[in-house]
Symmetry: C2
Subunit: 202 residues, 2 copies
DNA sequence: GGGCTACCATGACGGACGTCATGAAGGAGG
DNA sequence: CCTCCTTCATGACGTCCGTCATGGTAGCCC
């Protein structure tokens, strides 16, 4: 709750980028949203806007990774399909309660800066990696063969990000529900036969 | 080849949005890229930047829809999985030959303006619809039951858009290949049994 | 030819942006 | 007490933005 001004600025940057994109997010807006002193910007972020956005992206990646781990632990009788449904469900909940103004900050950063700033693009790449890793790890834990866990994690992230974009464009959570339903048999079918039998016995 | 200045401006706007996002695409950049007179902006687009971007988005949606129809006609022995592979293959080709600077203009527009401009958000929604329609129609033509064709089309668009974002972030086409491979059995398995037998006989 | 319309050219305006220079509080350590 | 260093405050600079006002040119129609 009581975060340092520096943390608040990184957090506010992530939230504003989610909504307005990188280009339309002004540093003055960030300090105002963070209720932080403007003079602290050049003190804490001597690298300027790029540094601030890069840290916001890194934070967003960590946050997504932590959320995966947490939601995976809360599922009862977990399966890959249920994991994906839970991940999409968090976005569904956000859209229905808070509206469709905020998207994924990683997508926004890629769209705005992939061609311009190599450092930001790399920051997003690392963030996606850090998000993909716990997803793949959870899949393996659920019985998905290690050879396929990474591929399925990429598929899950891709479908989720794309569905988020479609949902925002239509102001409707239906695309999220659709990809969850269509992907469920594929994901649950990827569980190794041996493990699947054992877990039903367990 | 010889397009009217107005068309050139819409086209250039779409290309620049693809690369830099909406916010970072200046109207002066557009007229320079289009080699069009700056004074024509207020003449052809009295609605200002929003109108120009909206038309660029609409053009991009039409273009994507036309490309789906064309690529579907070129596949031999077509199946849903092959259709998706062909759609992703066009992006793969673009990335490998032209680099990762350009993404999907629809995604960029959603990320930058979904919270700010209702007219632009609706324009993107219509564009996605116009893109989804020929995909679903082609799926039905290939034997997918009408009840599922729309759902599968949404899944294909979502996975493709997400994979494009991941590919740009990593500067690597691997995510595109991954989603194609992982989705192939699901897509081909959605072909109705009756139609599938009939087509093998045909 | 005169007038009307479509198209293009140019410059200015007000505002917002990221960045930097300068300097003030305020506690820590000598 | 004085000094150092972290933290914050404020104002200015140069640049670019989208928009608009104004005016010029070219061609068609009466």
């Amino acid at each position: 709750m009581t975060r340092t001004p520096r943390e608040r600025m990184v957090l506010s940057a992530a939230q504003l980028v989610r909504i307005h994109g990188v280009g339309a997010t002004g540093l003055r807006d960030v300090v105002a949203h963070a209720e932080a002193p403007r003079g602290s910007l050049q003190h804490y972020f001597p690298g300027g806007k790029d540094q601030l956005i890069a840290e916001a992206v890194a934070w967003a990646g960590d946050y997504a990774a932590r959320r995966v781990a947490r939601v995976a632990a809360e599922i009862e009788d977990p399966t890959p399909g249920k994991l994906f449904a839970a991940m999409a469900g968090q976005w569904r909940a956000e859209f229905t309660t808070s509206g469709f103004d905020g998207g994924c900050p990683l997508v926004a950063t890629v769209a705005d800066t992939a061609a311009t700033s190599d450092s930001l693009r790399e920051a997003v790449g690392k963030a996606f990696e850090g998000w993909q890793r716990p997803v793949a790890a959870t899949l393996e834990q659920l019985g998905v063969p290690p050879a396929r866990s990474a591929s399925l994690a990429v598929l899950m992230l891709s479908a989720l990000e794309g569905a988020i974009v479609l949902a925002r464009a239509h102001r409707d959570v239906a695309p999220l529900d659709t990809v969850v339903e269509e992907l469920r048999p594929l994901l649950d079918g990827a569980v190794g036969k041996r493990r699947r039998r054992a877990s039903t016995v367990d």
